[in-house]
Symmetry: C2
């Protein structure tokens, strides 16, 4: 008999080629599966809510795994962390969920943070943790551009060529631009996202922030439904998966 556990995970994206197992480098999923094997002796699949790209960080990724019943959630967390101590991954929480709860398919919302540092001087302590944008950015203008994207739209202009989703229609519930001391933070929430959607939005809003684009240009880019109409893809190291939301009953403990 097994029990299904949800784990909340923090990681530094820099050393990984992303969440999902692949042949060209170390992934977060692989490290977690190896840690699970180390303490259970079983090959256990670890299924994540969001397949973060190479270099993207997580403060609150969620994944599920089925462990032998003798392992209580807290023991799973402790054992995983013990075997992850050589990595940039930490398990922050673990709790039992119904057997049919699925980290990816049961999720009803995802939240990302995108951090931009708009100044000439490079970051020292936050190198690799923010997008260092050398030109100043006007947060109010960026919010005006962001407002064009909130709600249900065809986001074809904002998805990567390799995006595998059947439909490019998504609903952005939150797209908030916040000035936090010297940084600009984008808070983005939706049920689900297209590939590179947040980074393409960040790259586009930065054009508005510099004044090269007007907020209305974002509306036109969206209407074009063509990737070449929107701005460039912002770098992965400014992006953080912060939260994954579930319905009552399989949600995060509070």
């Amino acid at each position: 008999m097994t029990r299904r556990i949800f784990i909340t995970i923090e990681y530094d994206g820099a050393p990984f080629v992303g969440w999902q197992r692949q042949d060209n480098g170390i992934t977060v999923q692989q490290e977690l599966e190896e840690a699970a094997f180390a303490f259970t002796g079983e090959k256990i699949n670890v299924q994540g809510a969001g397949r973060t790209d190479s270099g993207v960080h997580a403060l609150g990724q969620v994944a599920h795994l089925d462990v032998p019943e003798k392992f209580a959630p807290n023991r799973v967390m402790e054992a995983l962390n013990a075997h992850l101590s050589h990595t940039a991954i930490s398990v922050l929480d673990a709790y039992e969920v119904p057997d049919d709860a699925h980290a990816r398919f049961s999720a009803i919302g995802r939240r990302y943070l995108y951090r931009i540092l708009p100044r000439r001087q490079p970051p020292a302590l936050d190198a690799g943790r923010v997008w260092h944008h050398k030109q100043p950015l006007d947060a109010d203008a960026m919010q005006a551009g962001a407002d064009m994207l909130i709600g249900r739209h065809d986001f074809n202009s904002f998805r990567a060529a390799q995006c595998q989703a059947e439909s490019s229609i998504r609903t952005l519930d939150i797209l908030q631009v916040e000035q936090v001391s010297a940084e600009i933070h984008l808070h983005v929430e939706a049920r689900s996202f297209l590939h590179h959607q947040v980074r393409n939005i960040a790259g586009t809003l930065a054009l508005v922030g510099t004044g090269k684009w007007q907020p209305d240009d974002v509306k036109a880019a969206l209407a074009a439904a063509d990737r070449s109409a929107a701005g460039p893809t912002a770098p992965p190291h400014g992006l953080y998966l912060t939260d994954v939301f579930y319905p009552d009953g399989i949600g995060k403990r509070v």
Copy 2:
């Protein structure tokens, strides 16, 4: 003719054996002096306000250097950063000061931040940036202990054996314990500090935070004027030099 420039510097302490030039590894001072040489062609001494130890970070270290008059402060900042791009050092500001202004001896105050993360789970993104303290800490108890140290005292119990200061009397102007989400931050300000003073205070207040010590035990440790009477030295990677203060006229531009 030269002009004297003050620079404000941010650095990640991890790759360095400290601020001050020495034979056993790379130092921040050495990197800055090599960068200054690279764009001036002259051997220029860079004198820091605080000689941070190996592993200690800075958000606002200040140093002075004398550059040929043709280099305006902004050009000094740009040139230093260009030659520091391979390092974890960034120059945030540069401004001209009177010739007799001295980064270390003119300073009238220094401010440090000490970050503690009290939880079982290790940090992933902030590994090496906070003291990971596995037991919970009571911030209110820590503040009560901290209150025993504020003001003018003989801090002999809180200085390293190798401390070279003639007197161990110092005046702590600020010692504030703040809960910031999951972390505890210590804010410490004084005209000057003894070697390891902030880290020894942090290690001692952590004993109070766990309940092993009562706040009054901090008073007794101070009165003992003996290093063995106080708590252990907290690790360097939780410590940040955040500000150096100067009198009007040679101070930081606002």
